[in-house]
């Protein structure tokens, strides 16, 4: 077999693991994305044979569902009978319990351990001062030059290692057939999915670290094969599921589908399908655009109830495919969905009016940078480390007390010395550094109106990105905006507001697209702090004539914060409780993020306005009547729907097997390399959400794992043609990674469910209601 074929097999076999994102940019993606070309059920089965992981909810989930009448005992019994399961429901549950809770020894223990030792020192991103020697030459070469000193390896004296990693793989696997080779590679990758996933991340994103210190999949494989050889270990084979295990997996799949069915029925009951619109003739006082994030539902509902306000749901990167470069640090982060490549880069520029404040801020930043450097030097260097501890000990005592008993600080709305209030966002193209033409700018703004089916223009229009604010939380970025690749969405919001306020853009909107934005309309960027439900308006530059309106809006937003937090936290004094959660260093559940997500509703706000959706749904505004050619819907399906599917699958798998796909409990996390966590003393890099993000306690779920149900308010014919035009979407639907329900306005909002391969099941709403009530 030639080297090229080996390379190809490496790429193919690596699909058995997902991508591990760094914690500073934690994208919630589907850990089984490599299996999406298979039906969900088949993927879960394959995963079981590969890793022994059971990708279905635990016993407690089904018990809970039965208590809640989302699954009746009879239904379960029917499913059991159908699969010839001998016994009753309780026998099934106890069989399931045994199946799911068997702990096994790791057959690759020694190989894994040695390899993890080398991977973690190589991949370090600045935690260690003394770096692994020769890192610049890449993992295989660096390891090769150190392996002879590694006493754990039983390295044969005088052994000469192959020149390159591909040579090594060739030497060690050339005798295998293609199928055997694939199998072998797959098993080696699946042994450490977290670390391999991070190698994939670095490669896919061409990070600076990867460019400076390359580590390719073949390097991993070569080193692993060599270690395996030196230790004389066996390559582990696939798990052969027993007949009863297979039976249980089949039953689980069907029970899950049953729960999902039931949930969809409940959801439909919540929707206003009568079709009457309560369009107020009066222009709203303000319109606020929030991310489609499930957390927006709560705050939108609470704002709407405070006055004459209208809210929209739109992907929180606001259609700007950008990277954001932070002021002062120069660090660049992606700030648009990971499925898009960033065409633009946004930077901060100080406005001349604020030169002094800008310099102050810069000094402040440099001082804090120096402080970090200073402390590090004092702690590391001999013997100042000892003197430093003695001199600074009492200061640490004070810090201990302050952070344990100190009063939480509240964010001040638009602090006058923040970057947002003294700088302006500037955008240029990544490709050639040039600025965007007026047409290009206009297109971004126009898309926002097109996709959301915008109708009237209020005097104030707020684009609210969202971000979380938590303390001592390695998973902080997992709570930020998923549509911004786990960055806070505030800068996208500021950018689009700036574009929409531009005179040239408004002129182009009017002349070329017939969209008339009134002169007395002001756009503002904002951030919805999802931990405290505070909304910070970036209004430092707002013209004088809007000040009164802004003041009134802020007043109502403060009221909305009170009612939203008390709904969420259910406590007296909920706002202070929220701030406490946001700043408490011992808080492992500062907020629930997107937990409980289960549905995605694409349609007019009137569908959902009257209901409390309990934070379970992503909401995208869409007006089927204004989207005659279906292009807006097409964009929504390919963008937001794919992202919500990633998020939903991520939450699903993190919940059903938290150790395998999540990252286990936060209380024993150990941050490695500044980018990830391992459990306890080390081991595989953790790739998903921690237990505290999806579970109430070690045993009780908070997020109820189920696949995403997408409800779309649009004619079925339009959807049909879109599905058949989009191979990827069709694959996701046919393979049942998501469910799709259409609410057809052309047929009195009749609801039909996509059942695969262009077939729909027609069910009217009344029928659903009967089923529920029965």
């Amino acid at each position: 077999m030639d080297l090229q074929a080996i390379s190809k097999n490496i790429q193919t076999s690596a699909k058995v693991v997902g991508t591990t994102w760094p914690l500073y940019a934690f994208v919630t993606s589907n850990p089984l994305s490599g299996y999406e070309s298979l039906p969900f059920k088949e993927a879960c089965f394959r995963v079981f044979t590969k890793t022994g992981s059971i990708a279905y909810p635990e016993v407690s989930f089904f018990k809970h569902m039965m208590e809640q009448d989302f699954l009746s005992e009879k239904q379960v019994q029917d499913i059991l009978n159908e699969h010839d399961f001998q016994g009753e429901v309780k026998d099934f549950l106890s069989a399931l319990n045994t199946f799911q809770n068997n702990s096994q020894l790791n057959p690759n223990h020694e190989v894994d351990q040695i390899l993890v030792k080398w991977l973690s020192v190589f991949l370090d991103e600045g935690l260690a001062d003394w770096q692994m020697p020769d890192k610049k030459q890449g993992f295989y070469q660096a390891w090769k030059s150190l392996a002879k000193y590694d006493q754990n390896l039983a390295f044969p004296k005088g052994e000469k290692l192959p020149k390159s990693s591909l040579d090594a793989i060739h030497q060690l696997t050339a005798h295998l057939s293609e199928a055997e080779q694939l199998q072998c590679f797959e098993n080696h990758f699946a042994a450490l999915p977290g670390w391999v996933g991070y190698i994939k991340y670095r490669k896919d994103n061409q990070t600076d670290w990867q460019e400076n210190f390359p580590l390719e999949l073949e390097d991993y494989l070569a080193v692993r094969l060599l270690i395996t050889k030196f230790l004389g270990s066996e390559v582990k084979a696939n798990v052969k599921p027993s007949q009863s295990q297979q039976q249980l997996l089949n039953i689980l799949q069907q029970c899950l589908a049953e729960v999902e069915n039931h949930w969809q029925k409940h959801m439909l009951q919540k929707l206003n399908l009568k079709g009457q619109t309560q369009d107020k003739t009066a222009k709203p006082d303000a319109q606020l655009v929030f991310c489609i994030d499930t957390r927006s539902e709560l705050i939108r509902r609470n704002i709407e109830s405070k006055g004459n306000y209208e809210t929209y749901g739109y992907a929180g990167f606001f259609g700007i495919a950008m990277d954001y470069e932070a002021a002062f640090t120069g660090l660049t982060r992606k700030s648009c969905p990971p499925i898009l490549s960033s065409a633009f880069k946004v930077t901060e520029q100080n406005t001349s009016a604020h030169t002094q404040s800008f310099q102050d801020l810069e000094t402040k930043h440099k001082k804090s940078e120096f402080k970090g450097y200073f402390l590090k030097r004092m702690k590391n260097i001999l013997p100042s480390a000892f003197g430093f501890v003695e001199g600074a000990g009492l200061a640490y005592a004070y810090q201990l007390l302050y952070r344990t008993f100190g009063k939480p600080k509240k964010n001040k709305n638009s602090a006058s010395n923040s970057v947002e209030s003294i700088c302006e966002t500037q955008m240029h193209k990544v490709s050639d550094q040039s600025h965007l033409s007026v047409d290009e700018q206009t297109q971004i703004v126009k898309s926002a109106f097109d996709l959301t089916g915008w109708k009237t223009f209020a005097p104030l229009i707020v684009f609210a990105g969202h971000g979380s604010h938590t303390a001592n939380n390695p998973f902080a970025s997992s709570l930020d905006c998923g549509a911004c690749a786990a960055s806070p969405g505030r800068h996208n919001a500021r950018m689009i507001a700036k574009l929409a306020n531009s005179k040239e853009v408004r002129l182009a909107l009017k002349e070329k697209h017939g969209i008339l934005v009134p002169e007395d309309t002001l756009f503002l960027g904002a951030e919805h702090n999802t931990t405290t439900d505070e909304i910070e308006l970036f209004d430092a530059e707002a013209p004088e004539e809007f000040k009164d309106q802004i003041r009134l809006l802020k007043k109502d937003l403060a009221k909305a914060q009170i009612s939203a937090t008390s709904e969420r936290l259910g406590q007296e004094d909920s706002v202070n409780q929220a701030y406490k959660k946001s700043t408490d260093w011992s808080e492992t559940r500062p907020e629930w993020g997107l937990a409980k997500n289960a549905g995605f509703i694409i349609g007019d706000r009137n569908l959902t306005k009257d209901s409390n959706l309990d934070g379970q749904c992503f909401l995208h505004s869409y007006d089927w009547e204004k989207d005659k050619d279906g292009s807006a819907l097409n964009a929504i399906l390919n963008g937001p729907m794919v992202v919500t599917q990633w998020i939903n699958n991520h939450y699903y798998f993190s919940t059903v097997d938290n150790n395998m796909y999540g990252s286990g409990s936060k209380i024993t996390h150990n941050i490695v390399g500044k980018f990830g966590v391992v459990q306890g003393n080390g081991g595989d890099l953790k790739s998903g959400l921690p237990l505290q993000s999806v579970k109430l306690t070690d045993e009780e779920n908070y997020h109820q794992p189920q696949r995403l149900s997408v409800f779309i308010h649009a004619p079925k014919s339009r959807l049909n043609s879109l599905i058949s035009d989009n191979e990827k979407i069709k694959e996701l639907l046919d393979n049942q990674w998501i469910h799709l329900l259409v609410i057809d306005p052309e047929r009195e909002n009749q609801v039909e469910k996509y059942v695969g391969h262009s077939a729909w099941e027609s069910i009217t709403k009344t029928k659903y209601a009967e089923a529920v009530m029965a």
Binding site: S103, N106, E110, K117, S120, V121, D124, L127, A128, P133, S145, L146, Q151, W263, H266, Q269, K270, F370, Y373, F374, R377, M378, N380, S384, A385, F386, G387, E390, G391, L394, Y396, N472, P474, E567, L569, G570, S586, T588, R589, W592, K596, A598, D614, K666, I667, T668, I671, G673, K674, F675, Q679, G680, N681, G682, G683, L696, D698, E699, Q704, M773
Partner: protein, 488 residues
């Protein structure tokens, strides 16, 4: 529309998880422990008392109060932290019970006057700590780590039993105060054997090289348990050696302590540099600091060792409890090389000397010929190092740099002196709290070694020795059964 039917799964977001009542109860108990011991210190000073005895089995002196108030402070603070941090943890209740067990063992240990009680409480400290390491008993690696640590602690307890057994047998007494009075009548060989056993027992508990591996395998403990371990439990050697200072002095083993401690201090400070996860990095730092503490004992400054363990406790508890803050996006860049100008070097030198002078003055270590000079040297280099970093910080004006350097060392040394003098007052009736040693060639040689270590680090020469890298990396791996041993 029937909206009374609750939406899915019907749990509104405001579900509160209950903290087990035991954990709620134990938290205030620990704070009460702390306040009582602080009250005790107050009374101790007011009454000018030396030692309270409760029968012959217990005696409470300044050292008991100092240690107990320290450990109960950490216990209480960490339990307040853990109350929320461990919410929903299946073993939260057990965690609280073990913590209480541990703190109570420390209390017993520092007030015991009977050989049997000393040994028993020493063992219980270890037992409870190993239980905390394996508190998540569903987790295979945690069980393995717990057993592994327990083996060390049992060994330490056995060595301590042998040591105290020898002393008790030959002095025909079971009470510490009687044993201490009779030390001079014991044969030297007995004293030496007892001292060596005692030293081993202490070094194991404080994870000094080569007994450091249990600590590096103990990260299966929840973060607050680690904080308690690194701020409280690990100090065993310092406390043990201070209580038995007279034995160490009579057996003339201080120099040995100095060497063992000093070696670990240098070794661990180097291995800390190559750690890539935050908890192992902190653990290596703890090992180094414990080495330094033992070194202070070896120099005859037991009071300084006690002060060090208290201050290090604050430092390390804070770093563990905030260890979730280490995630950071960085770009790979070369460490900047810093060049220093002659004038700046001169200022560094002056400040170092001034710092040393202030330290000598405030902590009353004015001799230039005994072992205290070693501690002064460390402070001088620290001040020099701080000044060296600040003096080149372009972000500040020259005046600011001078002010900042001066302020930092004056405040730092001032705060240290405050605690140092208070603790020294507490230990005043221990005749052996401060026994400066004559400077011998060994101390001077080690002083040079420290300086050498300093320059090696500054120049980064070690980076060019790959075999050393691998050696040190392997020496600091956790025990193999505590990583990746199980599938689930």
């Amino acid at each position: 529309m029937n909206s009374t039917i609750a939406l899915q799964h019907n749990k509104s977001q405001n579900v509160k998880t209950d903290i087990p009542w035991i954990s709620r109860l134990i938290n205030p108990i620990l704070w009460i422990f702390f306040f009582i011991s602080i009250g005790g210190i107050g009374i101790y000073f007011v009454e000018d008392a030396t030692t309270w005895t409760l029968g012959t089995y217990f005696r409470i002196n300044g050292l008991s109060l100092a240690i107990f108030s320290t450990v109960s402070f950490f216990g209480a603070l960490i339990s307040t932290y853990a109350k929320r941090y461990l919410q929903g943890f299946k073993f939260q209740k057990v965690f609280s019970l073990y913590s209480l067990g541990f703190i109570s063992s420390v209390l017993l240990f520092v007030i015991s006057n009977h050989v049997g009680l000393v040994i028993a409480s020493w063992f219980f400290m270890g037992l409870f700590m190993s239980k905390l390491i394996g508190v998540n008993s569903d987790w295979g690696e945690a069980r393995a780590a717990s057993n592994y640590a327990l083996r060390f602690f049992v060994a330490s307890s056995l060595l301590l039993s042998l040591s105290l057994g020898l002393l008790a047998y030959y002095s025909d007494a079971l009470f510490l105060n009687v044993i201490f009075e009779n030390l001079s009548s014991l044969p030297y060989s007995v004293l030496l054997s007892a001292a060596l056993l005692l030293i081993l027992a202490g070094l194991i508990q404080s994870a000094l090289f080569p007994f450091h591996r249990w600590l590096l395998s103990a990260m299966t403990a929840p973060t607050p348990a680690s904080a308690l371990m690194h701020a409280g439990f690990i100090n065993g050697a310092g406390i043990l050696f201070t209580i038995f200072a007279s034995v160490l002095i009579a057996s003339n083993t201080l120099t040995l302590l100095f060497i063992l401690g000093g070696f670990t201090a240098i070794f661990a400070q180097f291995v800390k540099l190559l750690q890539v996860n935050v908890k192992h990095k902190l653990a290596c730092s703890t090992i180094a600091q414990m080495g330094f503490m033992v070194m202070q004992c070896g120099l005859g400054f037991f009071n300084a060792a006690i002060v060090h363990l208290i201050l290090h406790g604050f430092y390390k508890a804070y770093l563990f409890l905030s260890s979730g803050e280490e995630v950071e996006m960085r770009s790979p860049e070369q460490a900047l090389k810093i060049k220093i100008k002659a004038l700046q070097a001169f200022i560094v030198l002056i400040f170092g000397v001034l710092g040393a002078g202030l330290f000598m003055l405030l902590t009353n270590k004015t001799s230039l010929t005994d072992s205290s000079i070693f501690l002064t040297l460390i402070i001088a280099i620290t001040v020099g190092q701080a000044t060296y970093n600040i003096i080149k910080a372009k972000i500040y004006s020259y005046g600011q740099r001078l002010m900042l350097s001066a302020a930092l060392f004056i405040i730092g040394i001032g705060m240290y002196a405050l605690i140092y003098n208070a603790v020294s007052l507490l230990l005043i009736e221990l005749n052996y709290a401060i026994v400066p040693q004559k400077l011998t060639a060994i101390e001077i040689a080690f002083g040079m070694l420290f300086l050498l270590g300093f320059f090696l680090m500054k120049l980064g020469i070690y980076r060019k020795t790959p075999w050393l890298y691998v050696k040190l990396l392997n020496l600091t791996q956790p025990h193999k059964h505590t990583v990746l041993k199980f599938k689930k």
